[in-house]
Structures are given as structure tokens and as C-alpha cells.
Symmetry: C2
Subunit: 227 residues, 2 copies
């Protein structure tokens, strides 16, 4: 599958690029500068090895993929979306990974601020064309662990969104990453809850002096597409 990662040089974006390239997808890393994107792509190719299909370019060029994953800090999120909105295809699946951590306003990483639209994902929706299908995901996956390719991730990805098919597309990518599962958390407004879990994981990390607290949902043997 052709997947782009906007903000793909950051920790979480780079980790996702590694994992999705390793799974055999064609990954395009977007960055503010074409050069940085190209360098990150080279790094991914080297780390994944084999014939990993990875390109690097600007966020704007990367935004023209059928699946676009956006991993940027909350303080830059609205600006990034405005800068790519004309490139995102009608009907594209956009996976927003933003958590509105209070660090965006000089606060603590274990606190959150409340976006005007309810969640960062809904802020993205307000900026993009209404035909674009937004999904919120990956808020409880530790970025550092994503980067350690030889390490299995012990976590579930809570996926929320209003378009079921778009959730299944995002879920299909998640299923390609060893040991990750995805759980349909409901419609896009549930991002108001799932996005805050990043701060909760950071609070738990801080309390126990660890780095990769994450969550598993119990109550069912398997998750993925409901029904």
C-alpha cells in the first residue's frame, strides 16, 4: 500500500515509517524540508534493509497519497493541515496521531489542553475538505518502542472515526505491525478521550520511571473490524 507520513522525521513518524516499510508498504516520508525527508528515507532504507520502498519529500508532496498518516506536535498541527489541505485527495484516508499535550503551551506532557473542536482529530477535520475521511489512532503507542524494530509492541491501537471503511484501512496497516492489535473505539468524537491517553501513559511512565506504558483492551479474544 502507498502510505505517506507527514512529520515523518519525528520520533513517532519515523518509527511508523520503519514498521510500515518493513511490512512491505511503499512509504513516503514528508518533512518541512525535502532534504530532511530524503535523509530520513535513506535512514529507513538502511535500517529496514532489503528492498524497502521508501521515499522522502516535502509534506505537501507527501500529502497526495491515498493514506496519509499525520504525526506532528499539537502546536504545529493546524498550520501543517492548512499547508497540505490542497494536496490531500478527495476521499483520502487521513490518520491523525496528534495528542493535545499541554507542552504545546509550555505546560506538562502529562496534562492536556482542550482543542476548540473537541479533539485534535476534529480540528483536522474542520480544516480538510469534507470528503476526506479522518481517523484518529496511535495515541497509546510509545514512539521510542516503534523505532526499535526488533522489539514487539505490547499494545492495542484505539482507532476512532466516522467512516467505517477508513477505520478498516487504518486497521489493516496496524495489523501489519507484529503484535499490535486495533480496537474500534467509536466515532471521531471519541478522539476527545483517546487523545488524552497519551498524557495518561506519560503520567504512568513518570510515576514508575519507565518509558513505554501502553494499554491492552480486555473483554474479547480478538478485535479489529467489529461484528
Amino acid at each position: 500500500m502507498d502510505v505517506s507520513i507527514i512529520g515523518g522525521t519525528g520520533q513517532e513518524g519515523f518509527g511508523l515509517a520503519l514498521r510500515l516499510a518493513k511490512a512491505g508498504n511503499h512509504v513516503t516520508i514528508g518533512s518541512r524540508s525535502q532534504e530532511k525527508g530524503a535523509t530520513a528515507a535513506e535512514d529507513v532504507r538502511r535500517l529496514v534493509g532489503g528492498d524497502a520502498k521508501v521515499d522522502g519529500t516535502t509534506n505537501q508532496e507527501a500529502a497526495a497519497a491515498e493514506v496519509v498518516i499525520v504525526t506532528v506536535p499539537f502546536e504545529g498541527q493546524a498550520e501543517i493541515y492548512r499547508s497540505i489541505k490542497d494536496q490531500v485527495h478527495a476521499g483520502a484516508v487521513v490518520v491523525d496521531c496528534t495528542s493535545p499535550l499541554a507542552t504545546a503551551v509550555g505546560g506538562r506532557a502529562w496534562h492536556v489542553v482542550r482543542p476548540w473542536h473537541g479533539s485534535a482529530a476534529e480540528q483536522a477535520k474542520a480544516i480538510l475538505d469534507p470528503s476526506v475521511r479522518i481517523v484518529g489512532a496511535f495515541h497509546t503507542i510509545p514512539g521510542e518502542s516503534l523505532r526499535e524494530l526488533e522489539r514487539d509492541l505490547e499494545s492495542d491501537v484505539l482507532v476512532c472515526g466516522t467512516d467505517k471503511e477508513a477505520k478498516a484501512v487504518a486497521g489493516g496497516l496496524i495489523d501489519q505491525i507484529p503484535n499490535l492489535r486495533w480496537v474500534d473505539a467509536g466515532d471521531l468524537t471519541q478522539a476527545r478521550i483517546t487523545e488524552t491517553l497519551t498524557a495518561l501513559m506519560i503520567s504512568i511512565n513518570r510515576t514508575y520511571k519507565i518509558r513505554d506504558a501502553a494499554i491492552r483492551i480486555t473483554g474479547r479474544a480478538s478485535w479489529g473490524v467489529p461484528g
Copy 2:
């Protein structure tokens, strides 16, 4: 240990009464009416069997214990706290289990409202004497599963609070319930996040047509008291 449960005739309160009585604690069930409290206590004694030590009384009388667990719907929470505030001992540990579900205002159980103080637990703190040590807990534990005594719970309890000793007291009770673990989620303000997880679990239950979605925290072999 002497434990009271305010709102102990509701599903979650009754389930906790069962579990904590079975573990050998002296449990006092508080209710709006003394009669209802006494009937619920009789039910717990019958279900637990043996020499279960369970009494039933009014919420006001029950509030004079060293550990007071409060399981009431959000719409009645402030009123209940105002009605027991003079009975709660200085320095007592109060475990608030309230989730600010939107059902309190005629909305949906998978949505939340935002309490003025940030969380229901902080609202409780604002009403009680400042010496009382508030802990938030049990928001991700399905009430129905608590009532099924023969069933092990597959879940972690996220505990937040500002007083570490109070968290350890609440954690000690949680550890008595088979298969439950407790995770220190940080200070009391983290209840702003943990309380919303009830709505998230309800959203997942609704999506998958199940009844007892819950969570486990990963990243560490054991939890409980940090360090």
C-alpha cells in the same frame, strides 16, 4: 479493614461490597434509606456466605468509616457529598468512583460532560473537608462483572490521588480482589482523564456488542506502589 460503600445498592457499589466482603473486610453498605441498605447487606451476606461481616445503613452513618468508597451517578454526586460531609472523618480515605457520563444531562453513556472542577473527584474534593484524602479509582471496572463473584476480573484499576498513602490504602483493597491490579496514574487531576475511560469502555462495548471491555496497562511486569 472497615470499609463503607456510599451508594452501595447500585450495581458497582453492590459488586464492590460483594468482592470486599468476600475478601474478609467489614463492609458497611450505605443507601438513601436505612431499609434498602439493610436489605442489600442481607443479600451480600447470603451471596458471600460463611461469616461475611456486612451491615447496611444510611449513607450518612456509613460515611463515618476510615475508608469510604463512593459509587453514585454523577447527577447525584455533589448532593450526596454535601449530605455526608459532616460525617466523614478528618483524614479519612475517600475513594470516588464517579464518571461524569453525559447521561447525567440526558445525553449518551459513551459521552462525557466536563465538571467545573475538572473531574468528578475534584468536585468531591471541593465539597469535603481539606483533610480528607480523595482518591479516584474503579472507572474501568465493569459493574456487572464485579457482581459475578465466581468470575475473575481481567482488568487494571487506575488509581489517582495526591496523597500517596491514601492511594496505597485503596490499592490494598484492590489487591484483595482476585486478578485485579492497580496502577498509580498520578495525582488527583489525572481523574480528568481516567474518569472519561468509562465512556470509552461503553463505546467499545457498544461497537462490539459486548458488556465488559476493560483495560490492562502494559510496560511493566507488576504495578501497585511505585518504586
